[in-house]
Symmetry: C2
Subunit: 161 residues, 2 copies
DNA sequence: ATTTACCCTACTATTTTACTCAGGTATAAT
DNA sequence: ATTATACCTGAGTAAAATAGTAGGGTAAAT
Protein backbone atom coordinates (compact mmCIF):
# COMPACT_ATOMS: atom_id res chain seq x y z
CA UNK A 1 0.00 0.00 0.00
CA UNK A 2 1.45 3.27 -1.14
CA UNK A 3 -0.19 6.64 -0.67
CA UNK A 4 1.49 9.26 -2.84
CA UNK A 5 0.40 12.36 -4.72
CA UNK A 6 -0.11 10.12 -7.73
CA UNK A 7 -2.80 8.22 -5.86
CA UNK A 8 -4.19 11.54 -4.67
CA UNK A 9 -4.60 12.71 -8.24
CA UNK A 10 -6.36 9.48 -9.12
CA UNK A 11 -8.76 9.69 -6.19
CA UNK A 12 -9.40 13.37 -6.83
CA UNK A 13 -10.15 12.67 -10.49
CA UNK A 14 -12.47 9.80 -9.59
CA UNK A 15 -14.31 12.02 -7.11
CA UNK A 16 -14.62 14.64 -9.83
CA UNK A 17 -16.14 12.00 -12.10
CA UNK A 18 -18.52 10.80 -9.42
CA UNK A 19 -19.80 14.34 -8.93
CA UNK A 20 -19.99 15.59 -12.50
CA UNK A 21 -20.63 12.56 -14.71
CA UNK A 22 -24.20 11.88 -13.68
CA UNK A 23 -25.86 12.19 -17.12
CA UNK A 24 -23.23 12.92 -19.75
CA UNK A 25 -19.59 11.82 -19.63
CA UNK A 26 -16.83 14.16 -18.48
CA UNK A 27 -13.81 15.01 -20.61
CA UNK A 28 -10.30 14.89 -19.25
CA UNK A 29 -10.03 18.48 -20.43
CA UNK A 30 -12.67 19.43 -17.86
CA UNK A 31 -11.00 17.51 -15.05
CA UNK A 32 -7.67 19.01 -16.02
CA UNK A 33 -9.16 22.49 -15.74
CA UNK A 34 -10.99 21.88 -12.48
CA UNK A 35 -8.27 19.95 -10.66
CA UNK A 36 -5.16 21.53 -12.12
CA UNK A 37 -3.66 18.33 -13.50
CA UNK A 38 -2.05 18.23 -16.93
CA UNK A 39 -4.15 16.57 -19.64
CA UNK A 40 -1.50 14.08 -20.74
CA UNK A 41 -0.81 13.02 -17.20
CA UNK A 42 -4.51 12.42 -16.66
CA UNK A 43 -4.56 10.31 -19.82
CA UNK A 44 -1.86 8.11 -18.36
CA UNK A 45 -3.71 7.74 -15.08
CA UNK A 46 -7.02 6.99 -16.79
CA UNK A 47 -5.40 4.35 -19.01
CA UNK A 48 -4.65 2.47 -15.79
CA UNK A 49 -8.06 3.19 -14.27
CA UNK A 50 -9.67 1.82 -17.44
CA UNK A 51 -7.53 -1.33 -17.44
CA UNK A 52 -8.72 -1.95 -13.90
CA UNK A 53 -12.38 -1.51 -14.95
CA UNK A 54 -12.89 1.49 -12.69
CA UNK A 55 -14.00 3.81 -15.51
CA UNK A 56 -15.48 3.45 -18.96
CA UNK A 57 -14.69 5.69 -21.92
CA UNK A 58 -16.90 7.12 -24.66
CA UNK A 59 -15.03 8.24 -27.75
CA UNK A 60 -15.75 11.05 -30.13
CA UNK A 61 -17.47 14.40 -29.65
CA UNK A 62 -19.60 14.54 -26.53
CA UNK A 63 -17.52 11.67 -25.21
CA UNK A 64 -15.41 11.39 -22.10
CA UNK A 65 -15.26 9.21 -19.02
CA UNK A 66 -17.78 7.82 -16.58
CA UNK A 67 -17.48 5.60 -13.55
CA UNK A 68 -17.78 1.95 -14.52
CA UNK A 69 -19.98 1.19 -11.51
CA UNK A 70 -21.89 3.25 -8.95
CA UNK A 71 -20.02 5.66 -6.70
CA UNK A 72 -20.80 3.50 -3.69
CA UNK A 73 -19.25 0.42 -5.32
CA UNK A 74 -15.81 1.95 -5.89
CA UNK A 75 -13.54 2.00 -2.85
CA UNK A 76 -10.47 4.17 -2.35
CA UNK A 77 -8.00 1.28 -2.12
CA UNK A 78 -8.94 0.06 -5.60
CA UNK A 79 -8.29 3.48 -7.10
CA UNK A 80 -4.89 3.86 -5.47
CA UNK A 81 -3.83 0.32 -6.32
CA UNK A 82 -4.88 0.83 -9.94
CA UNK A 83 -2.48 3.69 -10.58
CA UNK A 84 0.38 2.39 -8.44
CA UNK A 85 0.34 -1.23 -9.64
CA UNK A 86 2.70 -3.83 -8.25
CA UNK A 87 4.36 -2.48 -5.13
CA UNK A 88 6.38 -5.46 -3.97
CA UNK A 89 7.72 -3.42 -1.00
CA UNK A 90 9.11 -6.44 0.83
CA UNK A 91 12.87 -6.57 1.16
CA UNK A 92 12.98 -10.37 1.01
CA UNK A 93 10.56 -10.68 -1.91
CA UNK A 94 7.61 -11.60 0.27
CA UNK A 95 8.93 -15.12 0.77
CA UNK A 96 9.96 -14.38 4.32
CA UNK A 97 13.31 -16.06 3.76
CA UNK A 98 15.45 -13.13 4.86
CA UNK A 99 17.83 -14.99 7.18
CA UNK A 100 16.61 -16.56 10.41
CA UNK A 101 13.48 -15.53 12.29
CA UNK A 102 14.59 -12.42 14.18
CA UNK A 103 15.46 -10.39 11.09
CA UNK A 104 12.02 -10.81 9.63
CA UNK A 105 9.95 -9.67 12.61
CA UNK A 106 9.65 -5.97 11.95
CA UNK A 107 9.27 -6.75 8.27
CA UNK A 108 6.19 -8.83 9.07
CA UNK A 109 4.94 -6.13 11.38
CA UNK A 110 5.00 -3.58 8.60
CA UNK A 111 3.23 -5.94 6.21
CA UNK A 112 0.54 -6.46 8.82
CA UNK A 113 0.07 -2.72 9.28
CA UNK A 114 0.07 -2.16 5.54
CA UNK A 115 -2.78 -4.65 5.22
CA UNK A 116 -4.66 -2.80 7.95
CA UNK A 117 -4.40 0.44 6.02
CA UNK A 118 -5.47 -1.27 2.83
CA UNK A 119 -8.41 -2.86 4.57
CA UNK A 120 -9.37 0.51 6.04
CA UNK A 121 -9.36 2.23 2.65
CA UNK A 122 -11.27 -0.68 1.11
CA UNK A 123 -14.11 0.17 3.46
CA UNK A 124 -14.47 3.73 2.19
CA UNK A 125 -16.24 4.35 -1.13
CA UNK A 126 -16.26 7.47 -3.28
CA UNK A 127 -19.87 8.00 -2.24
CA UNK A 128 -18.89 7.85 1.43
CA UNK A 129 -16.39 10.64 0.96
CA UNK A 130 -18.92 12.79 -0.91
CA UNK A 131 -21.66 12.18 1.67
CA UNK A 132 -19.34 13.08 4.52
CA UNK A 133 -18.46 16.36 2.85
CA UNK A 134 -22.12 17.25 2.27
CA UNK A 135 -22.81 16.60 5.94
CA UNK A 136 -19.92 18.79 7.01
CA UNK A 137 -21.09 21.64 4.79
CA UNK A 138 -24.60 21.56 6.27
CA UNK A 139 -23.44 21.54 9.89
CA UNK A 140 -20.88 24.28 9.49
CA UNK A 141 -21.98 26.93 6.96
CA UNK A 142 -18.75 28.93 6.61
CA UNK A 143 -16.32 28.69 9.54
CA UNK A 144 -14.80 25.22 9.73
CA UNK A 145 -11.86 25.08 12.11
CA UNK A 146 -11.44 22.94 15.20
CA UNK A 147 -13.42 20.07 16.71
CA UNK A 148 -12.51 17.55 14.04
CA UNK A 149 -11.21 14.41 15.75
CA UNK A 150 -14.49 13.28 17.23
CA UNK A 151 -16.53 13.34 14.05
CA UNK A 152 -13.71 11.53 12.28
CA UNK A 153 -13.78 8.57 14.59
CA UNK A 154 -17.52 8.19 14.31
CA UNK A 155 -17.13 8.26 10.54
CA UNK A 156 -14.52 5.55 10.64
CA UNK A 157 -16.66 3.39 12.87
CA UNK A 158 -19.63 3.77 10.60
CA UNK A 159 -17.58 2.79 7.62
CA UNK A 160 -15.93 -0.29 9.04
CA UNK A 161 -18.67 -1.74 11.19
CA UNK B 1 -0.59 12.43 4.74
CA UNK B 2 1.93 10.60 2.62
CA UNK B 3 2.73 6.92 2.93
CA UNK B 4 5.92 6.13 1.05
CA UNK B 5 8.79 3.70 1.48
CA UNK B 6 10.53 6.43 3.47
CA UNK B 7 7.79 6.28 6.06
CA UNK B 8 7.94 2.50 5.91
CA UNK B 9 11.63 2.58 6.79
CA UNK B 10 10.90 4.90 9.71
CA UNK B 11 8.07 2.74 11.07
CA UNK B 12 10.13 -0.41 10.59
CA UNK B 13 13.07 1.13 12.44
CA UNK B 14 10.82 2.31 15.28
CA UNK B 15 9.31 -1.16 15.57
CA UNK B 16 12.81 -2.59 15.68
CA UNK B 17 13.62 -0.17 18.51
CA UNK B 18 10.45 -1.05 20.38
CA UNK B 19 11.34 -4.74 20.25
CA UNK B 20 15.07 -4.66 20.95
CA UNK B 21 15.74 -1.59 23.10
CA UNK B 22 14.19 -2.82 26.34
CA UNK B 23 17.25 -2.54 28.60
CA UNK B 24 20.21 -1.19 26.64
CA UNK B 25 20.00 1.18 23.65
CA UNK B 26 20.23 -0.11 20.09
CA UNK B 27 22.81 1.14 17.62
CA UNK B 28 21.90 2.19 14.11
CA UNK B 29 24.50 -0.34 12.99
CA UNK B 30 22.30 -3.10 14.43
CA UNK B 31 19.12 -1.77 12.81
CA UNK B 32 20.96 -1.34 9.54
CA UNK B 33 22.01 -5.00 9.65
CA UNK B 34 18.61 -6.33 10.68
CA UNK B 35 16.45 -4.23 8.39
CA UNK B 36 18.74 -3.83 5.42
CA UNK B 37 18.82 -0.02 5.49
CA UNK B 38 22.04 1.90 4.94
CA UNK B 39 23.59 3.39 8.08
CA UNK B 40 23.79 6.94 6.77
CA UNK B 41 20.21 6.91 5.60
CA UNK B 42 19.14 5.74 9.04
CA UNK B 43 21.12 8.57 10.58
CA UNK B 44 19.16 11.05 8.49
CA UNK B 45 15.85 9.49 9.43
CA UNK B 46 16.74 9.36 13.12
CA UNK B 47 17.81 13.00 13.09
CA UNK B 48 14.20 13.81 12.20
CA UNK B 49 12.76 11.32 14.67
CA UNK B 50 14.90 12.90 17.38
CA UNK B 51 13.82 16.43 16.50
CA UNK B 52 10.23 15.28 16.88
CA UNK B 53 10.98 13.78 20.32
CA UNK B 54 10.12 10.25 19.22
CA UNK B 55 13.51 8.81 20.18
CA UNK B 56 16.35 9.70 22.53
CA UNK B 57 20.02 9.14 21.81
CA UNK B 58 22.86 8.01 24.04
CA UNK B 59 26.30 8.88 22.73
CA UNK B 60 29.55 7.05 23.06
CA UNK B 61 30.38 3.35 23.45
CA UNK B 62 27.41 1.29 24.56
CA UNK B 63 25.20 4.07 23.29
CA UNK B 64 22.49 4.07 20.65
CA UNK B 65 18.82 4.92 20.43
CA UNK B 66 15.76 4.24 22.55
CA UNK B 67 12.14 5.19 22.25
CA UNK B 68 11.45 8.51 23.97
CA UNK B 69 8.20 7.21 25.45
CA UNK B 70 6.55 3.82 25.85
CA UNK B 71 5.71 1.76 22.76
CA UNK B 72 2.01 2.25 23.40
CA UNK B 73 2.37 6.04 23.45
CA UNK B 74 3.89 6.35 19.97
CA UNK B 75 1.41 6.20 17.10
CA UNK B 76 2.16 5.44 13.46
CA UNK B 77 1.01 8.82 12.13
CA UNK B 78 3.55 10.66 14.29
CA UNK B 79 6.39 8.53 12.95
CA UNK B 80 5.42 9.03 9.31
CA UNK B 81 4.83 12.75 9.74
CA UNK B 82 8.21 13.12 11.45
CA UNK B 83 10.22 11.89 8.48
CA UNK B 84 8.04 13.43 5.77
CA UNK B 85 7.66 16.89 7.31
CA UNK B 86 5.48 19.58 5.78
CA UNK B 87 3.42 18.07 3.01
CA UNK B 88 1.37 21.04 1.86
CA UNK B 89 -0.39 18.86 -0.74
CA UNK B 90 -3.14 21.39 -1.41
CA UNK B 91 -3.12 22.98 -4.84
CA UNK B 92 -4.54 26.25 -3.55
CA UNK B 93 -2.28 26.50 -0.52
CA UNK B 94 -4.96 25.33 1.89
CA UNK B 95 -6.70 28.68 1.77
CA UNK B 96 -9.49 27.31 -0.36
CA UNK B 97 -9.32 30.28 -2.65
CA UNK B 98 -8.92 28.32 -5.89
CA UNK B 99 -11.59 30.08 -8.00
CA UNK B 100 -15.26 29.82 -7.14
CA UNK B 101 -16.84 26.98 -5.19
CA UNK B 102 -17.15 24.18 -7.73
CA UNK B 103 -13.42 23.88 -8.45
CA UNK B 104 -12.61 23.30 -4.80
CA UNK B 105 -15.06 20.49 -4.08
CA UNK B 106 -12.97 17.44 -4.90
CA UNK B 107 -10.01 19.19 -3.39
CA UNK B 108 -11.86 19.42 -0.10
CA UNK B 109 -13.00 15.83 -0.45
CA UNK B 110 -9.43 14.62 -0.67
CA UNK B 111 -8.39 16.71 2.31
CA UNK B 112 -11.25 15.19 4.26
CA UNK B 113 -10.21 11.66 3.32
CA UNK B 114 -6.58 12.43 4.04
CA UNK B 115 -7.58 13.50 7.54
CA UNK B 116 -9.49 10.24 7.96
CA UNK B 117 -6.39 8.24 7.10
CA UNK B 118 -4.29 10.34 9.44
CA UNK B 119 -6.80 9.91 12.21
CA UNK B 120 -6.85 6.17 11.59
CA UNK B 121 -3.08 5.85 11.84
CA UNK B 122 -3.06 8.06 14.94
CA UNK B 123 -5.13 5.38 16.63
CA UNK B 124 -2.54 2.66 16.10
CA UNK B 125 0.52 2.54 18.34
CA UNK B 126 3.75 0.60 17.85
CA UNK B 127 2.65 -1.68 20.69
CA UNK B 128 -0.63 -2.40 18.90
CA UNK B 129 1.20 -3.58 15.82
CA UNK B 130 3.49 -5.79 17.86
CA UNK B 131 0.63 -7.25 19.89
CA UNK B 132 -1.37 -8.00 16.77
CA UNK B 133 1.57 -9.88 15.28
CA UNK B 134 2.06 -11.96 18.44
CA UNK B 135 -1.61 -12.90 18.36
CA UNK B 136 -1.41 -13.92 14.70
CA UNK B 137 1.64 -16.09 15.34
CA UNK B 138 -0.13 -17.97 18.14
CA UNK B 139 -3.33 -18.63 16.22
CA UNK B 140 -1.67 -19.73 12.99
CA UNK B 141 1.59 -21.62 13.60
CA UNK B 142 2.87 -21.75 10.00
CA UNK B 143 0.29 -21.54 7.21
CA UNK B 144 -1.20 -18.07 7.02
CA UNK B 145 -3.19 -17.51 3.83
CA UNK B 146 -6.85 -16.55 3.46
CA UNK B 147 -9.53 -15.39 5.90
CA UNK B 148 -7.94 -12.03 6.61
CA UNK B 149 -10.58 -9.32 6.19
CA UNK B 150 -12.67 -10.26 9.19
CA UNK B 151 -9.91 -10.17 11.75
CA UNK B 152 -8.69 -6.89 10.29
CA UNK B 153 -11.97 -5.14 10.84
CA UNK B 154 -12.20 -6.27 14.43
CA UNK B 155 -8.68 -4.97 14.95
CA UNK B 156 -9.58 -1.62 13.45
CA UNK B 157 -12.67 -1.33 15.60
CA UNK B 158 -10.72 -2.11 18.73
CA UNK B 159 -8.19 0.56 17.86
CA UNK B 160 -10.59 3.36 17.09
CA UNK B 161 -13.35 2.81 19.58
C1' DA C 1 -14.95 15.34 -44.19
C1' DT C 2 -14.13 17.39 -40.09
C1' DT C 3 -14.02 17.91 -35.41
C1' DT C 4 -13.87 15.94 -30.99
C1' DA C 5 -11.76 13.45 -27.54
C1' DC C 6 -10.06 9.09 -26.40
C1' DC C 7 -5.73 6.28 -27.03
C1' DC C 8 -0.78 5.24 -27.13
C1' DT C 9 4.27 5.60 -27.04
C1' DA C 10 8.36 7.82 -26.28
C1' DC C 11 10.90 11.44 -24.36
C1' DT C 12 12.17 14.95 -20.76
C1' DA C 13 12.45 17.85 -16.54
C1' DT C 14 11.86 17.84 -11.81
C1' DT C 15 11.64 15.95 -7.45
C1' DT C 16 12.20 12.44 -4.15
C1' DT C 17 14.55 8.56 -2.49
C1' DA C 18 18.37 6.24 -0.90
C1' DC C 19 22.87 6.28 -0.43
C1' DT C 20 28.00 7.78 -0.07
C1' DC C 21 31.61 10.52 1.66
C1' DA C 22 33.97 13.19 4.87
C1' DG C 23 34.25 15.13 8.47
C1' DG C 24 32.87 16.40 13.34
C1' DT C 25 31.45 15.72 18.79
C1' DA C 26 30.23 13.46 23.20
C1' DT C 27 31.15 9.64 26.09
C1' DA C 28 32.79 5.24 28.04
C1' DA C 29 36.62 2.34 28.64
C1' DT C 30 41.50 1.57 28.85
C1' DA D 1 45.01 11.23 28.35
C1' DT D 2 44.12 8.35 24.72
C1' DT D 3 41.35 5.54 22.13
C1' DA D 4 37.33 3.49 20.43
C1' DT D 5 32.55 3.93 19.93
C1' DA D 6 28.59 5.75 18.01
C1' DC D 7 25.97 9.75 17.60
C1' DC D 8 25.79 14.05 14.63
C1' DT D 9 26.04 17.02 10.43
C1' DG D 10 26.26 18.60 5.75
C1' DA D 11 27.38 18.21 1.07
C1' DG D 12 27.20 15.62 -2.87
C1' DT D 13 25.26 11.86 -6.05
C1' DA D 14 23.01 7.90 -8.44
C1' DA D 15 18.70 5.91 -9.14
C1' DA D 16 13.92 5.96 -9.17
C1' DA D 17 9.31 8.09 -9.19
C1' DT D 18 6.58 11.96 -10.41
C1' DA D 19 4.72 15.12 -13.56
C1' DG D 20 4.54 16.85 -17.82
C1' DT D 21 5.55 17.30 -23.30
C1' DA D 22 5.37 15.96 -27.90
C1' DG D 23 3.55 13.69 -31.63
C1' DG D 24 1.28 10.83 -33.35
C1' DG D 25 -2.77 7.61 -33.81
C1' DT D 26 -8.27 5.81 -33.69
C1' DA D 27 -13.50 5.81 -32.93
C1' DA D 28 -17.53 8.38 -33.30
C1' DA D 29 -20.69 12.35 -33.80
C1' DT D 30 -21.84 16.39 -36.61
Amino acid sequence: MKLTTKGRYAVTAMLDLAIHAKASPVTLQDISGRQGISLSYLEQLFAKLRKNDLVKSIRGPGGGYQLQGAADSVNIAKVIDAVNESTDVTACGGKGNCHDGQQCITHDLWCELSEQIHSFLSGITLQDVIDKQQLKKQNQPSTDKGAESLTHNTFILSQVG
